[in-house]
């Protein structure tokens, strides 16, 4: 067990492509840290650099306080679980799991004992003498995990270990991984592109985008206080809604209606306009017609007719509901905004990654999560309520959360 420190680590490929750009991250001993981001964001490269499978272009990587930049993977004492599992097809499960110990020239009875212990934990005892080809996907995945835990290494590195499983098994294995990590208490770095896995598994989550770490924090922090539009849009399902807004005479004008900012928001807006952006907006504080992006989580909408929101301060508005999905526990209402959704480069990338970029309607819609008691019906106009105190305000040029930039 050990802590892992990435100190301004950069990976630049020979062709000049920047895969990881100045990543700094301190992973404490025993911590479960998730690297999450869309494909091509550099998360796997980061993991490979920790493993020693890829060279570090600049910066320092320390495991257990020791700089390991130039150490070969075998000298780093870390175990890795691959997306493809990478089981050795010509060896039995027993040999697969004991391979690392055999390479380390440990005595045979010790290897056997450790392999059998791990097999028991992972419920693989009866498969020990089979070959990987004879196992199911879930069993192979467990063998891959077993191969890692047999060695009791300093750290586990997992590269999308669950993405080849079907949905049901994935959820099951997710809890399994979580339990295993709790039990072993081994420092774990886990790479995934699935924000649900990131939110449910990690002690802390690092969100990456095009080689840069956007934000590191606990799942709750990322959810409630996203530093950038990207993090806000990436974490959470359904994703946060982004609505364009302009500031006019102290009010936020949005397609949903005018929002009077509360004290916190006014403070943020004042701080923002009082900062370097004043010159961009062209002078006078209150007179500026400046635009920003308002982020709203789907659950901060509610059916205005419900008892729970009656009399509560917030924005009430009437919009046609295009689609209503009733899930039993709650309902998702999809409404189209007159002005359309906010468009900024970061969001385009997210949409691109999700494959929704070309959908004609998807990008213009706002999703509202409503209580199951809601009487709203599809195709009709509905009165909705928005909890304006929970708004996130983003700078449209930098994508930064005004809250975070004010704090920094």
């Amino acid at each position: 067990m050990a802590d892992i420190v990435l100190d301004h680590v950069t990976k630049r490929y020979a062709d000049g492509q920047l895969a990881v750009d100045d990543a700094s991250l301190a992973i404490a001993d025993g911590e479960f840290v998730i690297l999450v981001g869309p494909s091509g964001c550099g998360k796997s490269t980061t993991l490979n650099m920790i493993a020693g499978l890829e060279d570090i272009s600049s910066g320092e990587l320390r495991i257990d306080g020791k700089v390991v930049n130039d150490l070969a993977p075998k000298d780093r004492d870390i175990a890795m679980v691959f997306q493809s599992y990478a089981l050795y097809p010509h060896m039995t499960v027993r040999k697969n799991m004991g391979f690392a110990l055999a390479l380390a020239k440990r005595p045979k009875d010790e290897i056997n004992r450790k392999v059998e212990e791990a097999a028991k934990v992972l419920d693989l005892t009866e498969h020990l003498d089979r070959r990987p080809a004879q196992l199911s996907g879930g069993q192979r995945q467990r063998v891959a995990m077993g191969r890692a835990i047999v060695r009791s290494p300093k750290a586990f590195l997992m590269d999308e270990p669950l993405s080849n499983l079907d949905a049901k098994l994935r959820v099951q294995m997710r809890t399994e991984v979580s339990r295993l990590q709790n039990r072993l208490g081994t420092t774990t770095v886990y790479v995934t592109h699935d924000q649900t896995e990131a939110m449910t598994l990690g002690d802390r989550v690092a969100v990456l985008r095009s080689g840069r770490i956007q934000q590191v924090g606990t799942p709750t922090e990322l959810y409630t206080r996203p530093a950038t539009v990207f993090v806000a849009g990436f974490i959470g399902s359904p994703a946060m809604n982004f609505i364009p807004a302009t500031i006019e005479e102290g009010e936020l004008l949005t397609p949903l209606g005018a929002i009077v900012p509360d004290d916190r928001q006014r403070c943020l807006l004042d701080g923002w306009s009082g900062g370097g952006n004043r010159s961009v907006s062209g002078g006078g504080g209150a007179a500026g017609h400046r635009s920003l992006i308002v982020g709203v989580r789907p659950e901060h909408f509610e059916d205005a007719a419900l008892e729970s929101v009656r009399g509560r301060p917030g924005l009430r508005f009437t919009v046609p509901v295009d689609v209503l999905e009733r899930l039993g526990s709650d309902s998702y209402a999809y409404v189209t905004l007159p002005g359309g959704r906010a468009r900024i480069a970061d969001l385009e990338e997210l949409a691109h990654d999700a494959g929704t970029v070309d959908l004609p309607s998807g990008a213009e819609q706002v999703v509202a999560r409503l209580h199951a008691d809601s009487r709203i019906r599809e195709g009709e106009k509905a009165d909705l309520w928005l909890d304006t105190s929970r708004l996130h305000l983003f700078d449209p040029d930098t994508g930064q959360n005004l809250d975070e930039s004010a704090a920094a």
Partner: protein, 289 residues
């Protein structure tokens, strides 16, 4: 052919189907006959007595194993058989060993000059062997390896290494890279990763390559006849040309036939045992190499 036959069976009435089958069978028979008759003729000749050898009958009137007994008592043949075996085996081991390393690098690494190396290998494979014979003859005599095993092993390697590299790199490319990464993380040195993970998985490819290289070396006549002068290193295909009859005027046809049959046997055994693999190896080398 099987698929053609089955689709035609599905579409055509039974009568025409039978005609088609007969047609195919006849065509196959002709091809098999054309390719087998010379070989069978050779076998037949090898069992004939010297006085019936020119009688033109396919089935010998009187059978004899004298020809076989004859060649195995002559050092010309037995020594050549030993040479053939030794030279072919050494060449094969070297070609597969060196070829595996080169192919592994080609399949896995990006290094400067990689394209050049692959292109060069292809170029050598296409190089007309006969044009090398006289320079090698002179060179080998100058440096003193004319009529030695090594003198034959070197040109065999020259022409079998490209073949080995092409076939093996196709096999290595099929092996997922993650396996090596896993081995490295498990604590293997690159050499251990290669020997304990990659090589066992590439074993079918290695066997295929070994067989192809062995057959190439075993069958070679050109280099053997040109670069050897005595029994010391002459291989069987060349040695056969030096067979003499019982007297000055008798043709050694029976002995030649027997020797030809004997050296064909290992090849036949190989091909029968590894038929599938050889075809797979040839096509994977051809398509993906």
């Amino acid at each position: 052919m099987a698929t053609i036959a089955s689709t035609s069976r599905a579409r055509r009435p039974a009568g025409r189907d039978r005609t088609a089958m007969l047609g195919w069978s006849a065509a196959n028979l002709v091809i098999v006959a054309v390719s087998l008759i010379p070989l069978l003729w050779l076998v037949s000749l090898s069992f004939k007595t010297p006085d019936t050898i020119t009688d033109g009958r396919f089935i010998p009137r009187s059978w004899t194993v004298e020809n076989y007994r004859g060649i195995f008592t002559e050092s010309l043949f037995t020594r050549a058989l030993l040479n053939s075996l030794g030279i072919a085996v050494i060449s094969t081991v070297l070609a597969v060993g060196l070829g595996a390393m080169a192919a592994y690098a080609i399949a896995r690494l990006e290094f400067p000059g990689k394209k050049l190396l692959v292109g060069l290998a292809l170029l050598i494979a296409m190089f007309p062997q006969v044009s090398l014979v006289s320079p090698l003859f002179n060179l080998w005599r100058q440096i003193g390896i004319f009529d030695t095993w090594i003198g034959l092993i070197i040109p065999y390697l020259t022409f079998s290494l490209p073949l080995a590299i092409y076939t093996l790199s196709a096999f290595f490319r099929e092996i997922p890279w993650d396996l090596e990464k896993a081995a490295q993380v498990d604590g293997a040195t690159p050499a251990q990763a290669f020997l304990r993970v990659i090589a066992p998985l590439a074993a079918p490819g290695m066997v295929t390559t070994a067989i192809l290289v062995f057959i190439f070396c075993w069958n070679d006549f050109l280099f053997s006849i040109s670069l050897t002068s005595t029994e010391r290193s002459r291989t069987v295909p060349a040695a056969i040309a030096f067979f003499t009859g019982a007297s000055q005027f008798a043709q050694p046809i029976g002995s030649i036939a027997a020797a030809a049959v004997v050296i064909t046997i290992p090849i036949i055994i190989f091909v029968l045992l590894f038929q599938r693999r050889i075809v797979a190896g040839l096509t994977s080398g051809a398509v993906k190499g």
